[in-house]
Amino acid sequence: MARDTLTGSRIRERRIMRGVKQADLARQAGISASYLNLIEHNRRRIGGKLLLDIASILKVDPILLTQGAEATLIATLREAASAHATTEAELARVDEFAGRFPGWAQLLADSQGRIATLERTVETLTDRMTHDPHLATSLHEMLSTVTAIRSAASILAEPGEIDPDWQSRFHRNIYEDSARLAETSRGLVTYLESEGEAANETGAPQEEVDAVLEEVGHHVPQLETPEGDPEAVAVELGRALSGAAQDLLLAWLGRYAQDAQALPFERFAEEIQTSGPDAAQLAATLGASVTRVMRRLAAMPEEVLPDPVGLAICDASGVLTYRKPLPDFPMPRFGAACPLWPLYRALNRPMVILTQSIIQPGQTQALWAEALAEPIAPPAVNQDPLYEAHMLIRPGVPAAQASAAEVGVSCRICPRDPCPGRREPSILATA
């Protein structure tokens, strides 16, 4: 069926979507219900004023009724069909499908677009893992060293006499190789988890943004004045970023600007000198939300906060959407963080400020964590709130807090075992 003969189908579809009875629409349009019925079944052509009236009643652009789904929608549906050739979609009726079921068609087209985007992401990440020269070299060296150790150890462990010279040589080889393995593993872990140079070589949008924020020290002076324009700053800072990363950066800068307007730099810095970097105390004094204060603390330069604070923000799924690590509290560059972080406990107890003294493996200094999960939108009728959690990390554990809870960076590089939160083996398990 040709697309331009489906105006009636689209009217019917829109009418049903809006919950308007056929008789009511006919009455409002000044025609009989039976005539509208013929139109809706594409047995009478429609145009001119009647079409405009019906479009107005249905609150829809007349073009959407006459032209139906756009060409791009049809093209995307065809693309989806060709990508899943085995399902034998009725290609000859794709126009009719798009015209009669625009919502479903758009959903299908959107899903097709999302599949394509995800496939590209998978390709990018796979390519990155495969072709990252540092990663490939380190892994190759580790596996070669492990092979040499395994082979020599096996010779020594097998029954039978071995010439003392050979025995001594294999002992020496194992010693040397194990030292080399330890060195390579340490280097690899540092590379995988460190911020800095490596962050600039990443491909994920969030990591691109992280690299930019790290570059500016998480402080954006251009937005500390009322005239600060997030869009202009986003253009300035995000020139080299991908489109997706630019969007993320703009969103972050927009939030930064709102925070800066609500808690102006001079006033905030002054209050820090009085109250210290205590988020709850500052929030109470300044009449601001605790999470906003946490973000402002993370944005303070060294002259205001000589001992910088760290900040992690995650969405309701636990994905880190912002990270400002500390030397004593590294955060994973990608992938999930340690589920023992108070950040995730906060998601279980929204609107409660959770505090805890925590320490990571291999670190000597315990840190003070304050975590809070808040809804991201005002209450809505019959809608469960979506939460976002913030966790501020800072030195200065209160004296009363004798012992610190052990938490990790991420399972992959955490030696803690057993751990109730472990979701994957550690590459340090045998180190």
């Binding site: 495969t130 190759h140 040499a148 020599a152 040589r169 080889n173």
Partner: protein, 122 residues
């Protein structure tokens, strides 16, 4: 004497351990540690079986194997390829280059011996 094997591998401690194990099993073992003149070394030694690492200084194991397979004398030479990369794509590359058997690191001594005996028997 079980046979003559040439090991081309750039990791000295792997060479040492494999050489020991193979010699003890009765193989005559020659070794070589770089890829640049590996093909010449194979021509010079003319082994019964070749153990070839993939990542070698100067030239990859794939390139060495492709060159060897273009030479009538080595078209049927049994080649055991060793690699730290075990992805399907690497395996396919090795197969396209003409590998006889493909083994990923870390392998055991027993696996190497078993593979060599199997290759020698073909």
């Amino acid at each position: 004497m079980t046979g003559h094997v040439l090991v081309i591998e750039d990791e000295p401690n792997i060479i040492e351990a494999i050489s020991f194990v193979l010699s003890r099993d009765g193989w005559r073992v020659d070794t070589h540690a770089n890829g640049v003149d590996a093909v010449e070394k194979v021509r010079e030694k003319s082994p019964d079986v070749l153990i070839l690492d993939v990542m070698l200084p100067g030239k990859s194991g794939y390139d060495i194997l492709r060159e060897l397979r273009e030479d009538d004398e080595f078209v049927a030479l049994p080649v055991l390829m060793l690699t730290a990369r075990g992805q399907n794509r690497d395996r396919e590359m090795a197969e396209r280059a003409g590998v006889s058997r493909f083994m990923t690191k870390p392998f055991s001594n027993a696996e190497v011996l078993e593979a060599l005996h199997a290759l020698k028997a073909t």
